[in-house]
Amino acid sequence: MEMNFNVKGMDFNRAGEAAAKFKKALQLVGMEVATIRKAVIVAYEAELNIVIHARQGSLTLKVYSDRLEILAQDEGPGIPDIALAMQEGYSTAPPHIREMGFGAGMGLPNISKCSNNLEIESEIDV
């Protein structure tokens, strides 16, 4: 079972829609409450990353009986130093985004905390 959701960069009004759609689907499947809660956070943070940093991207949810996979793909500037990006509080979000209360440098760390396995691939200057 696979679900897809397109996300546009800078579209803050719609941020959270993919996470909400995934949550609804997982409730229909009857996933455990704690699993759903973690999946919502992972999906939302990934969605927000695309909104803040990328031109456009997509989120894919893959549902299996024993696990979930959330795949975020986007076209954006890329992450030059992944280890640095994983540090709590490290952010490359511009000041005007931070003024909105986003871009606190907790996105990737939160995703990492809420998932059992996190893989990141990035290419710069594509």
């Binding site: 079972m1 689907a25 409730q27 229909l28 499947v29 409450v33 809660r37 919502v40 549902v63 009986s65």
Partner: protein
């Protein structure tokens, strides 16, 4: 009570008045209503008794089941528990003590003000917030919001403060007082909450804790006329109100927060606004907030479906009353100091009513079908099929509660195909027919 029935609901359908329109299905926050055979049907396990359908129904076909005041006769000693919102339903000169006098004149033997219990609960909340707790803590006071979380936000139930509602605390204190001061046995005491909403009725008949201490719930609107007439009645006893300003303020949105003070507090009212805030919390937001006061009705309890007064008028009345009361030093009765007295006796558990199947593999396959069918439906969410939107119809089809032909657009498509086929068929003729009137043609073909 209600061993026979799995769910009790205060919100019910009046079959005679329901025309089968689709107003209610589209406003229900848990998608708990369907129209079938020309009438609305409430899916019991999903209904949270918020009363949105009562408000929206143009035909007044949604009712709240409450207890009749005649039930007072069942008990030797009756105690009224007036919700704080009751104090805002009357004119500007009417003070709580007048309303309490009218309640006694109406037939109650005693009263215990819920606003007094609300004051005590505020203290427990302050104490709870000063210790480590899941952030943000969420109020347990509005039963419609708690049921909403059981159905749609089970992951947030651990954030709900494990504290009893002012109504339950008032019932406990009222009973203890009747035991103590009058030597009455529990069976002789009837405790009646005067309610602004149906959710409180359900909270009593099907409580979150083990049992409710409330014996009956009477609609505020049902006694309003009686109370209004008795405000100036010469037989009304002069009595005293102990309600402090902070406790009375619980009757409107923001009141809990005002009573708690000194924390980072958020108040949200209106069930659809509450859903937005809970979504945000579920996504990991609002960690900077200590406490969320969430109320299903716009304006808080004064906006309840069973209040007689316009909520904007009662809001002004309440603000003025709170101002007046805050100039006085309250003379509160002795309230239990032990925080455990105010604790919820058991945790609030999820009500997983949304899942498609108990078998997860089957549920995944069914979800796939839901996705496919909903992509195939027109996406206009017109509601003519009796489900609140196209996606819900797709779910209903997969669950076996509906058919694709319930969709008028799908039906039309099918009819068009069928019509074309009929035209095609009508032009086909069996070989024995279709001889041309005259001329050449087949005759020349050969004998």
């Amino acid at each position: 009570m209600n061993n026979m029935q799995k769910y009790f609901h205060s919100v019910m359908l009046d079959r005679d008045n329901c025309k089968g329109c689709t107003n209610c299905i589209k406003h229900c926050p848990t998608e708990a209503i369907r129209v079938r055979k020309g009438r609305a049907r409430i899916i019991e396990e999903r209904c949270i008794d918020c009363g949105e359908c009562i408000r929206i129904c143009p035909n007044r076909a949604k009712l709240a089941i409450t207890d009749s005041p005649e039930r007072l006769a069942e008990f030797r000693h009756t105690v009224a528990l007036p919700a704080p919102s009751l104090y805002a339903q009357f004119g500007p000169q009417v003070m709580p003590r007048h309303i309490l006098g009218a309640l006694l004149d109406f037939g109650f033997d005693d009263y215990y003000e819920v606003a007094v219990a609300a004051h005590a609960v505020s203290g427990t909340l302050r104490e709870h917030l000063s210790r480590p707790h899941p952030r943000p803590a969420i109020s347990s006071a509005c039963p419609a919001v708690v049921r909403l979380m059981q159905v749609r936000f089970p992951g947030l139930l651990e954030n709900v403060v494990p504290v009893e509602t002012p109504m339950e605390i008032a019932a406990l204190l009222a009973r203890a007082r009747a035991n103590r001061e009058r030597g009455l046995k529990n069976n002789d005491i009837g405790i009646f909450f005067i309610t602004p909403c149906p959710a409180k009725v359900t909270a009593v008949k099907q409580p979150f804790g083990e049992v409710s201490g409330v014996d009956g719930v009477i609609s505020m609107s049902a006694v309003y006329g009686e109370l209004l007439n008795r405000l100036d009645s010469p037989s009304a006893r002069v009595t005293a109100s102990l309600s402090p300003a902070q406790g009375v303020g619980w009757g409107r949105s923001g009141g809990e927060n005002h009573a708690i003070m000194n924390h980072s507090l958020l108040a949200v009212d209106g069930i659809h606004n509450v859903i937005n805030v809970l979504d945000e919390i579920e996504r990991g937001g609002l960690r900077d907030i200590d406490y969320v006061e969430a109320q299903s009705c716009t304006g808080g309890c004064i906006g309840g479906p069973l209040v007689p007064q316009n909520p904007f008028v009662s809001r002004v009345r309440m603000e003025n009353l709170v101002k007046k009361l805050s100039r006085r030093t309250p003379e509160l009765p002795d309230l239990p100091a032990d925080p455990n007295f105010y604790r919820l006796k058991r945790p609030i558990l999820p009500l997983p009513t949304l899942k498609l199947s108990h078998d997860i593999n089957r549920a995944i396959a069914m979800l796939e079908q839901v996705e496919r069918i909903s992509g195939d439906l027109p996406g206009l969410d017109c509601g003519s099929c009796g489900s609140p939107n196209c996606r819900a119809l797709a779910e209903d089809i997969v669950r076996g509660y509906a058919e694709t032909s319930y969709c008028v657009f799908k039906l039309r498509e099918k009819l068009q195909l069928l019509a074309r086929e009929i035209v095609d068929l009508s032009q086909m003729q069996p070989p024995a027919m279709g001889r041309e009137q005259s001329g050449t043609g087949e005759r020349q073909e050969k004998e």
